[in-house]
């Protein structure tokens, strides 16, 4: 389920991150991880583990070691700049009640 991938012990199948696109045309969404020796079995196992109840119409499998994540220590420098730009939200601009369709 994403995050600090641990080095597999010898003989252990590698870890994959699984993304599923639901039926409603939304983007693929991370649903969890699983072990598989290759991509064919990763997708087959993902079908069994993550789509037993029609959860999706498409599966992506990505090796966990290939996922690069932002560092938790960078959270402030990365995301704080968005905090003071509230004018990016439409609610920043009060509109008169009598003006419609805005």
């Amino acid at each position: 389920m994403s995050g600090a991938a641990t080095e597999a012990t010898a003989g252990e199948w590698p870890l994959w991150e699984i993304f599923i696109r639901s039926q409603h045309g939304l983007a693929h969404k991370h649903v969890g991880s699983l072990h598989a020796p290759d991509v064919t079995l990763a997708i087959r196992n993902a079908r069994d583990v993550y789509t037993r109840r029609n959860e999706g119409v498409s599966i992506w499998a990505v090796r966990s070691v290939d996922v690069h994540a932002s560092a938790p220590g960078d959270r402030e420098t990365l995301f704080d700049p968005a905090n003071d730009k509230i004018y990016r939200h439409p609610t920043f601009f009060p509109m008169p009640d009598e003006v419609k369709h805005l």
Partner: protein
């Protein structure tokens, strides 16, 4: 319950004044209901406790497949057989979600499985009881999965992100398990006198072990305070047990079954059912390995792991060969 008596390795929660700055910041995030994620700093004891708790939970799901899998070939109709297979497959899936959650805490799948096989980590006491008749399959779904839901719903709000997310998936699927169990019992209780007696016999055997699933009484739960502070245990053992009794007794009445507890009675003053004393010596004996099926369960797990080794190795060798061929071809 699925995780019973989880050792936190601490003597109890630390006073805020005795915490390091990292520990203080961590506790503040937990208190503010901010989820802890795998790459965040966390106290070693929190990490170790979670690994223990989540893997106990995962092992319980996987070992829990055994008493039910035992009945797939003997289910009374094709529909019941298909339903039971789907349920057992779900249990396998739940184990996998949980192992994956544990693996985000810097342990490998193989280590977790080796811990189980070496007897270093427990699974729930409940799976050391045998499923003797078809009514047991109904009762396990109704009581054991019912108790599991009771415990797992609060865990959807626990402090560790991957564990909470696994619990959300599991809870969505678990309700089918409980209902299919109750459905089996409804059929039996509407059937012949012999079928109804079979249902009563199963309830007589499973009731007390189900109550033990929630773990020892609060007064004896030495690690609960720390786990509660970390928000990896959200309701106490006794609280959950009482909720379970209150919810289940009317269901037994609907079925026309008798709870095997002469002290069970509605208490108008408290608004809860009073129930009789639990035999904790049985619980501790089962945890120590002396339940009816402990040896059989572990033997079955170890055999499955050993027998499957050549398949795991062959799949890896095949993947390596394909990768080599693809590399030379390009």
């Amino acid at each position: 319950m699925y995780a019973q008596l989880v050792d936190t390795g601490t003597g109890g929660p630390k006073d805020i004044a005795h915490m390091t700055p990292d520990e203080q910041a961590f506790q503040a995030r937990v208190d503010a209901n901010v989820k802890i994620e795998p790459t965040d700093w966390m106290p070693d004891a929190y990490r170790r406790t979670l690994v223990r708790q989540i893997q106990q939970h995962a092992h319980s799901e996987i070992v829990g497949m055994l008493p039910e899998g035992n009945w797939i070939g003997r289910a009374p109709t094709l529909a019941r057989k298909a339903i039971l297979m789907a349920k057992v497959q779900d249990e396998g899936g739940h184990g996998l979600y949980l192992y994956a959650a544990a693996e985000t805490l810097r342990v490998t799948r193989d280590q977790l499985i080796e811990d189980l096989h070496a007897g270093k980590v427990r699974y729930s006491s409940i799976f050391n009881y045998p499923t003797l008749t078809w009514a047991d399959i109904g009762t396990v779904g109704w009581l054991v999965d019912g108790a599991a839901i009771m415990n797992q719903i609060p865990l959807c709000r626990c402090s560790y992100g991957p564990y909470a997310r696994a619990m959300v998936r599991i809870c969505k699927e678990e309700s089918f398990h409980q209902r299919q169990g109750f459905d089996i019992l409804m059929s039996l209780c509407k059937g012949t006198a012999e079928q109804k007696a079979m249902a009563q016999d199963a309830l007589d055997r499973w009731w007390w072990p189900s109550l033990m699933m929630f773990g020892p009484p609060d007064a004896e739960s030495v690690h609960s305070a720390q786990s509660a502070r970390w928000k990896i245990k959200l309701l106490s053992n006794d609280e959950l047990r009482q909720r379970f009794v209150d919810q289940t007794v009317p269901q037994a009445e609907y079925l026309g079954l008798r709870m095997p507890d002469p002290d069970l009675a509605w208490n108008e003053a408290t608004g809860h059912y009073d129930f009789g004393a639990i035999d904790w010596s049985e619980f501790h004996a089962v945890l120590k390995g002396n339940g009816p099926c402990n040896q059989e369960r572990l033997r079955a797990r170890v055999k499955a792991w050993d027998d499957g080794r050549w398949v795991r190795d062959a799949a890896l060798a095949h993947a390596a060969k394909q990768a080599r061929r693809a590399a030379t071809a390009s």
